[in-house]
Amino acid sequence: MAEFEELSQRHLEELSDEQLVEYMRRAREAGRHEAMKPAVAVLVYGYWDNLVNRARLKLRNHADAEDVAAEAVASAIVSAFDGKSVGEFRSWLHTILSRRIADWWQAKEQKLEKTRLPSEHQGDEDVWGREPAVDFEGEALFARDCVRRALEEIEDPRHRRVIDLYVLGRNSAAETAALVGDGMTEANVHQISSRFQRRVRGLLEGGDTSD
């Protein structure tokens, strides 16, 4: 086994997620637990807001969103040490978050089954709490499935790249056209984006709007 070499904070910030996890694994195996701390901090801080905000889309309050995000990031990092390959860390992390959100709703439902609902207990809602906001629960969970399905339906890899760079990424239409190249224009980017959003909308409405 290669000797563990502690890296500076600055060097750690330049590592990929997978390299950070590997660094933590080597630090742990070498018994250098203090060396793990900055690497864990870079990884947790780097994704914390994204996880909390994704959870906010699906849960009813900020405290629950933070709670589920904390559980997800801890589970994702610790399970990456199990020796199993988790693939791309970011994707793994967001998958764990989705599972934890689903678990949260399932636990909520089970708890509600054990108790009477507020509507069966008129006038005492402070004791029993409110019934679950089913519409709110479904909002982002179903929408996420529709986005995923619409993405899977894109056959042309250049179109998929447009969606990744422009709709789900941080680039302008002009930047996206330049990055994709091969004759892609800004107008094409807008057309592809509009078509994709129409498809997601059609799936959300329960109809088939493929054009």
Binding site: R28, H33, M36, N50, N53, V73, A74, D82, L151
Partner: protein, 212 residues
Amino acid sequence: MTDVERLLTEYKEAHQGGGDADPRPYLARASGVDRELLAGLIDAYLAEAPRRPFSAAAFAESRAAPVAEQVERSLAGAGGMWPALLPRLRDRARLRRSELVAQLAARLGAQGAQQDKVGLYYHQMEQGLLPESGVSDTVLEALGKIVDSTASALRKAGQMPGPGPPRTDEGAVFARATYGEPAADVPAEAEALAERGPEEWDEVDRLFRGGA
């Protein structure tokens, strides 16, 4: 540009500008299918967003800091995910550690000095200093009832990940204050009691260190 595209663009700008970037105010400006579409697109955007560059100052003030500390303790300790899980379950149950310890001691039938020892052992569980294999089902069942979990879920959490080499700074970790509650609620005598060998163990020692 549609309303959804405009709101998505605004959200992405806020997100890239740093700060909280709470998506809910943006959702509140849309309705019906537009709102669902926007939620799905923001969700997919956040799932693809790259890791935020590290800022030591922002990290120190962030809720991410205690979470990172729990993860580090989980990786460095002997109790798997307990350092990350137990404080959260306790928070969810709205219990201070002293209140949880009192309930746990009562459920285990601990009296007098044994109550302090229950406090010590529970503290070690939260800190990742107590190996899961030593903690009995009796303790985990009692704890599960207090924090609305199950013995099997707690057992499984304590087993992850595979054990690493023993840490050399257990004393420092033990003395460290956690979650705003100092370790001072664990008397020094209880610590000394816990250092006794198996031949001197009482029932509480066996429950927390003797295995199932």
